[in-house]
């Protein structure tokens, strides 16, 4: 079955942005900051990745600069939620709107729109790549192979290092963490910047390695799907990775269906990822899983002067 083989082969390309964005969101949210800005930060990563590639012609430089750019833009979000103590929902939304405007403007004024870039060569993981059916799954670019490594490092850092545990303490109970001498705002700032850099990488992956060009608002709601993914995954990185692969499968199926000649109303097919996200959210709600894994202080600002 050629169809299944190429479908499986395309899945990682679609799954990686979800996985990286969801991981970035989990890191930020573990510190107690409700992060809704993924859609915007992915766009920043995407436009900056393309811009950096067109300027320096080095894919690695493009990806790193995209991460840096998303980290820098997230400082604005940090300023809003940590210093100015603006409602975190509003701050996240404004960040998305700000980034949508900024990236469209930058892309257009710099002339980066619709400029193709070559992406990265796929590397075959021999002998896995020779397997029937699933072989193509193991012919991917190097960033795809890095994703499990990034996940391992992040999970280890969150669960096994002092900084990771302190960051989670800040997310569960900032008052207690503060009393224990942990700099709450410092840890939240670090969580926002690190998480946003990963989200920026997710955006750059879409633009530089997957679509291989920049179009304004090209992430088309993937950042919001990542937000939903974090809710289904109950803030667990491994479950988020599994969810990302599931969504990657669904997105990879769309071009496959078109290529196989099955006639479906095009725009209904485009609706599918959003409808499925909604469906999964409803299913998770009906199956009534406990919400205890949500960080205790998620969404509440830490205001030292008002501590009781």
């Amino acid at each position: 079955m050629d169809l299944i083989s190429s479908w499986l082969g395309n899945t990682p390309e679609f799954a990686v942005p979800f996985a990286l964005a969801a991981l970035g969101l989990i890191i930020t949210e573990k510190s107690g900051v409700l992060a809704l800005g993924a859609e915007g930060l992915m766009l920043v990563g995407a436009v900056c990745g393309i811009g950096a590639y067109l300027t320096f012609e080095q894919t690695a430089v493009a990806l790193v600069m995209a991460m840096v750019a998303a980290g820098v833009v997230s400082l604005l979000f940090a300023l809003m939620v940590l210093v100015m103590r603006i409602n975190q929902v509003i701050s996240g939304l404004v960040l998305v709107f700000f980034c949508q405007g900024l990236t469209t403007l930058t892309g257009t004024l710099m002339g980066w729109t619709n400029q193709p870039v070559p992406g990265l060569e796929a590397i075959a993981l021999w002998p896995l790549s020779e397997l029937p059916y699933v072989g193509r799954f193991f012919i991917q670019n190097v960033v795809v192979y890095l994703v499990p490594v990034i996940f391992l490092i992040s999970v280890w850092a969150l669960n096994r290092t002092t900084s990771g545990l302190r960051m989670r303490a800040v997310g569960e109970n900032p008052q207690a963490a503060d009393a224990a001498g942990i700099p709450v705002l410092g840890y939240r700032l670090a969580a926002i910047v690190i998480g946003s850099a990963l989200i920026g990488l997710a955006g750059a992956f879409i633009a530089v390695l997957s679509t291989k060009l920049w179009i304004s608002n090209m992430t088309a709601g993937r950042g919001w799907i990542a937000v939903a993914l974090v809710i289904f995954a109950r803030w667990s990185p491994w479950k988020a990775l599994a969810g990302a692969i599931l969504f990657g499968c669904i997105e990879a199926l769309i071009p496959q269906l078109a290529a196989s000649g099955i006639k479906l109303p095009q725009y209904f097919v485009f609706m599918a990822p959003y409808a499925i996200t909604l469906g999964v959210m409803i299913w998770v709600a009906i199956s009534k899983r406990d919400s205890s894994s949500q960080p205790g202080a998620l969404g509440t600002p830490f205001i030292r002067e008002e501590r009781t």
Partner: protein, 353 residues
């Protein structure tokens, strides 16, 4: 360690200081926006001319600002209503799209005689906007499904459905663009006086109705309970779920009406991208106005000025319309930050401890 300054929570602040701080933050936001525009290639000397003089002191532009303001007032009021019920209705765009689709369905299928066609379109627009808001509010009330994600997902579904119609069954065969056939003259919002659209008085009447709903009606009283504390509201016997449902459905209906105002007021047909920028503006207008209908009407006028100026920037300097979105975001960041200075003060602490 010798800390010289300490941050304190301020108990109260005189209203004129508050007004001054908010005005200052708006000016700061405008300065930042002006800088962005200059960086983007608008000659600095032309800025004032472009924005203030051409937009507000020219009768025709002033008309287009008022005209542009009416759908923005609708989405702004829709935002106010939903946010008062602590419901993050980010689905204004989807509800607007379905409102316009509902109104266009009436024109496509020629339902009703010409005399009652327009009222029928308005009813259809409100009903469709309302229907598109039902699912997320019920899901939130019954199953605690996060409405931020559900309403946004429904927006993407609505956008694709609109494209399906515009590139398919409802495409005007006489037009190369994905637009519906033009509305008949009796399907357009009429003009009165010197070229003012009917959508302006409609917007004002609706603003008054929302004002009555929030401040005078029983539901509005309940809504204030729910806004302050849903727990207390529930324990004193306020029908919390019904109040939230009512406010959100009202919000959806108003967003639907905004869709009709753009389709039957400005474009004269359904187009594939008529909704762009409205959903986001509605949320920001409601936030800037702190969910107050009168303030929302004023904020909508400000945003309408931006829309009109943004279109002329697009024409004269090829600056993408996204600039309007960026400027709105900058303004909101500045105004939201001003709240920090209203609620806190920095006090100098005597050193030497």
């Amino acid at each position: 360690m010798n800390r010289r300054y300490a941050l304190e929570v301020r108990q109260q602040m005189a209203w004129y200081w508050q007004a001054l701080i908010i005005a200052g933050s708006l000016i700061l936001g405008l300065l930042v926006s002006g800088t962005i525009l200059v960086v983007a290639g608008v000659p600095a000397g032309e800025l004032l001319n472009e924005f203030v003089i051409l937009t507000l002191f020219d009768a025709q532009s002033l008309q287009s600002v008022l005209f542009q303001a009416s759908p923005l007032i609708m989405v702004g009021l829709a935002g106010c209503l939903a946010f008062r019920a602590k419901f993050w209705n980010l689905g204004l765009e989807g509800q607007m799209i379905f409102g316009a689709i509902g109104a266009t369905a009436i024109t496509m299928w020629d339902i009703g005689s010409p005399a009652i066609r327009l009222p029928l379109m308005m009813a259809a627009a409100m009903a469709c906007g309302l229907l598109w808001a039902i699912a997320p509010v019920l899901l939130r009330l019954k199953l605690q499904v996060n409405e931020i994600v559900s309403t946004l997902m429904l927006n993407y579904i609505a956008i694709n459905f609109l494209l399906h119609l515009m590139y398919g069954a409802w495409k005007d065969p006489k037009d190369a663009f994905p637009y519906s056939p033009k509305y008949e003259s009796f399907e357009l919002l009429p003009e009165f006086g010197d070229g003012l659209s009917m959508s302006i008085p409609i917007a004002i009447v609706i603003a008054l109705v929302v004002l009555w709903f929030i401040n005078i009606s029983r539901a509005g009283l309940y809504l204030r309970f729910v806004d302050k504390s849903p727990q207390v509201a529930r324990s004193v016997g306020v029908p919390v779920a019904k109040t939230i449902l009512l406010a959100v459905l009202f919000s959806g209906a108003l967003a639907g009406l905004a869709g009709l105002m753009v389709a039957a007021g400005q474009e004269g047909r359904l187009t594939h991208s008529f909704y762009v920028g409205y959903g986001f503006s509605g949320i920001l207008i409601a936030f800037l106005a702190r969910n107050n209908p009168i303030a929302a009407t004023c904020a909508a006028l400000l945003i309408a000025t931006l829309f009109v100026a943004g279109r002329s920037l697009q024409v004269f300097y090829q600056i993408p319309f996204a600039m309007v979105q960026l400027i709105q975001a900058v303004l909101v960041i500045c105004v939201a930050s001003s709240d920090f200075f209203i609620r806190h003060r920095i006090r100098r602490v005597q050193g030497g401890e």
